[in-house]
């Protein structure tokens, strides 16, 4: 390794790291770093640990996993890039930002992948494993050469780091230990508290032997020392100590904890990406708290078991993603028809069909709302932050029980794996479900004693004397007797539908982010909240009269939308699902297929709502939303 004293290498030219006590300090309110490796090399573990430590030190954090679609993609290929992006801030961070400003890459091919996806800032600093440059295999050396040439088209500052060489001083298989070495690098660069990092390492390897921890702690120290001694820069993102207790986790863990806090008893599921990790976490802890995870033989059975348990008086939910949702369709219709309370978590991924299993999309909204043949009204909620993933479960459970209905929680792959700190919840006994009353059914009460105004009724649970009846998916009357009378179906449909309107009557109108009126209102839902609001803030800073409105309730829609929309020149949804562009060939205003929330809003409000949607298989970036906002504003006035 040469010891070039230069502070910054010229554009694109790889330099070995500098040395000396003089370290340039990059001070930033926010900084975005990526760690990328071949699949299985532990970049995600490294990045998530770094995110957790940063959160604990008082930085705002948002992490997004970079996931290859294959289980064992070939090593050293762009397709195999696996890792994580961590965006740090002095204040709360609500999305993954635009471009990475620092990248640590375990080889040049995975770096190339991020380069080609335009994930890196033009002046990004890249810490690249150097061992491939002088590899014994000529094809590897050639690949390195070609990659560096391609990367040279941008102004990255590439710093070579002898990761493998360094790790080899501690472990036999140096390729295995690099992730903790890199955690050390990041700790050195960002001045992370070493003791907290070691605690995090201990937590990561808590199920392994002491020796494993010690070896990894040693690798961490090695990386940290190397960064402090060899790198000529460090990054300072001021931390703000939290004034209240915080927890940090990903959205799926938050959903699982929320399910426990809501008093749920049973999670019936079938493995499906990206929903499964809810059950991984629950499987680990649920039984300590009186619950079980039932892994059913298929998606259909998972719904059936949850419905059976709910019918029998326990609080049950099922968790799935697009293809599983499709399979559960018939059972969900049955739950609606029999008014059996049920919470369904759909962690959305890209579709249709197998689609993009590990990637984010918001394409299930209409399937959830209208996926059942016949009229099957249900409640749909969409959490927009990790914190909401926790609290939404309590809300969902309560609505499901009070309204005897199916409640959907629409999360997505962005929330599922995104890690963010949030105020530590204070669990409340009132959040838990009360055990079912198994006392005798009062004389004269019927299985569907619908209040004719609200459609609400009290259900009977097996075990209640005097309540014997047969629930049926056939059209039925108040006594749950099958009925083919023309009025019976009309009445049943009306009573089930009425509950949705009743629920809406209890909701408050949403409040726009920004101003109450203006030229453009951006409407969004789910995990895009942070990116949309950041884009709106930037637009407003630039003097544009833009606001945004984020909807949590999608069925029923929150009240007062028409009135809010009327105060803006244009209304446009931003969504991660497919829509035609207005100027696409053959596309007219009449045949244009619009975003899913957009369609819903147009139908419900009669406002000519526009949309801007993308399906890139990754979260939206604030900058691209801002570009869309500018473009729509340029069209001026009403669309």
């Amino acid at each position: 390794m040469t010891t070039s004293p230069s502070a910054f290498a010229p554009a694109g030219a790889p330099r070995d790291a500098g040395t000396g006590p003089e370290r340039r300090v990059i001070r930033a309110r926010e900084h975005c770093v990526e760690v990328v490796s071949d699949s299985g090399e532990g970049a995600q573990k490294c990045g998530q640990s770094f995110g957790a430590v940063s959160a604990k030190m008082g930085n705002g954090v948002w992490t997004v996993e970079i996931i290859p679609a294959e289980i064992q993609p070939p090593a050293r290929t762009p397709a195999g890039a696996s890792g994580v992006r961590i965006r740090l801030g002095s204040g709360p961070v609500t999305n993954w930002g635009d471009h990475a400003e620092l990248v640590v890459a375990f080889n040049e091919q995975v770096l190339l992948a991020r380069h080609r996806q335009n994930a890196l800032a033009d002046d990004a600093v890249v810490l690249l494993e150097s061992s491939w440059r002088d590899h014994e295999d000529e094809t590897v050396r050639t690949a390195w050469q070609n990659a560096l040439e391609e990367l040279g088209t941008r102004h990255y500052r590439i710093v070579l780091v002898p990761m493998q060489e360094q790790c080899a001083t501690v472990v036999d298989d140096a390729r295995r230990g690099r992730n903790m070495f890199v955690l050390g690098l990041l700790a050195g660069i960002y001045d992370r508290d070493a003791e907290r990092c070691r605690e995090q390492i201990a937590q990561t390897f808590r199920k392994k032997s002491r020796e494993v921890y010690e070896r990894n702690a040693l690798l961490f120290d090695l990386g940290r020392t190397w960064a402090l001694e060899q790198l000529d820069f460090r990054v300072e993102v001021p931390t703000t100590p939290h004034d209240e207790p915080m927890v940090v986790m990903n959205g799926n863990t938050a959903l699982a904890l929320g399910a426990m806090a809501a008093g749920m008893d049973l999670c019936a599921m079938y493995p499906i990406t990206p929903a499964t990790s809810v059950s991984h976490y629950l499987g680990d802890v649920f039984e300590d708290a009186g619950g079980i995870v039932h892994q059913a033989e298929d998606e259909i059975a998972a719904a059936g078991v949850a419905i059976g348990a709910s019918y029998a008086g326990k609080v049950a939910f099922t968790v799935t993603s697009g293809p599983g949702l499709a399979l559960k369709t018939e059972f969900l219709g049955l739950a609606v028809m029999t008014e059996t309370p049920l919470v369904v978590v759909d962690v959305q991924r890209g579709g249709p069909s197998t689609g993009l299993p590990t990637k984010i999309e918001q394409s299930d909204l209409l399937a959830v709302l209208f996926g059942q043949p016949g009229d099957a009204p249900k409640v749909v909620l969409a959490p927009s932050t990790i914190e909401e993933c926790f609290h939404v479960m309590v809300t969902a459970r309560r609505i499901a029980e009070s309204f005897r209905c199916v409640v959907f929680v629409l999360s997505d792959a962005n929330l599922a794996t995104g890690v963010q700190p949030y105020p530590r919840p204070v669990p409340d006994e009132r959040w838990l479900a009360t055990p079912p009353d198994l006392g005798p059914v009062p004389e004269g009460l019927r299985p569907y004693d619908w209040d004719p105004r609200t459609g609400l009724s009290r259900r009977f649970v097996p075990g209640q004397p005097g309540g014997m009846h047969t629930l049926t998916g056939l059209v039925h009357d108040e006594n749950s007797k099958v009925s083919y009378a023309p009025g019976a179906n009309e009445r049943g449909c009306a009573m089930r539908s009425r509950k949705i309107a009743v629920l809406q009557s209890t909701l408050e109108p949403p409040v726009p982010h920004g101003a109450d009126a203006g030229d453009l209102l951006v409407v969004a839902w789910g995990s895009t909240r942070g990116a949309v609001e950041e884009a709106v803030d930037r637009a407003r800073d630039a003097g544009l009269a833009v606001s945004s409105l984020h909807l949590t309730f999608l069925s029923p829609l929150e009240p007062g939308l028409r009135e809010i929309f009327a105060r803006f020149g244009r209304v446009m949804t931003v969504e991660v699902n497919y829509s035609d562009e207005p100027d696409d060939p053959f596309v007219t205003d009449e045949n244009r297929r619009r975003g899913q929330l957009c369609m819903l809003l147009r139908a419900q409000t009669l406002v000519d709502v526009d949309c801007w949607t993308r399906v890139p298989g990754q979260p939206l970036r604030p900058a691209e939303i801002l570009t869309a906002i500018r473009a729509r504003l340029a069209k001026g006035g009403r669309p």
């Binding site: 604990k56 937590q203 207790p245 915080m246 927890v247 940090v248 986790m249 904890l257 426990m260 806090a261 008093g263 008893d265 049973l266 019936a268 802890v285 039984e287 300590d288 708290a289 009186g290 619950g291 079980i292 033989e297 259909i300 059975a301 998972a302 059936g304 078991v305 419905i307 059976g308 348990a309 709910s310 019918y311 029998a312 008086g313 326990k314 049950a316 018939e330 049955l334 029999t338 700190p421 530590r424 919840p425 669990p427 006994e429 838990l432 005798p440 009977f460 097996p462 075990g463 004397p465 005097g466 309540g467 014997m468 009846h469 047969t470 629930l471 049926t472 998916g473 056939l474 099958v482």
Partner: protein
Amino acid sequence: MTATCTLTDCGAGEPVELTMADYQGAVARWCPGCGDHSVLSAVQRLLEAHQLAPERTVFVSGIGCSSRFPHYLRTYGFHGIHGRALPVATGIRLARPDLNVFAVMGDGDCCSIGAAHWVHAIRYNVDMVALMLDNNIYGLTKKQTSPTTPLGFATNTQPRGSYLPPLDPLSVTLGVTNASFVAQTADWAPQHLYRTLDAAFRHRGFAFVRVLQRCPVWTSSVFQDLVRDPSRVEILVHDDGIRDESTESVHTHHVEHDPGDIDAARRLAEEGGTRLGLFFRDPERPRYDATRRLPPYTPADRIAVLEREFDRHAV
């Protein structure tokens, strides 16, 4: 399955002796001569004999003629969707060990659209009685071929005759790992039917009973020879099996079979011919609901675990 409920600790008021009539729901609307009537009577007899509390008894069904069953009983019932009685019944059982759970299915319901659930329910070995009323046809939808329709039998979907040999539900059930109770009976042998239900109800685990069930409208011929000539039916006899003197005196063809011998049971199932009796029983097979029962908890327990987990994720 065990009756965990007695009259004195179920429900309100003074214990009263329940009669068959107390278990009767709506008037059965099956066709005259349908074998389902016979099964319903045997079930009502069983409920009376065990004095099962109606409020602690649940009949779950799918879709089809036989799945109307719960409507005709005055217990709790769940008339769900085609092929999916078993997942619902499994959910009920996991949630409520105190309930008596029965699933009633037809041959299309169980062996065709619900086949995945059937196979896995056998493996889960969850405590319930699963009745498969097998009339060899889709009756409610008017004569379509089912998996158990005899080869060559003409139906509306296969008017030139069924193309494939029928699937044998007993072989399938006996072939699945962890099968614990497999029996066959017939609607026209009411005493044998009753005794079979009684044995199934007493079994702890997934008690699968195939009932050969006549459909006078669509498959009147398929069981005709067996009904007219009892010697064509073999009765499995063993001291550990299902014994019924009246059946054994009418059906004079007996085969000694030890229900503890699964290899013999599989051979018998595959040999062809029609046999009534207990093919296999092993009360020691592991039960999913015994190991995966919902553990009781108090709100304080739940909150303690939540706090522990928040500590783990604390910033």
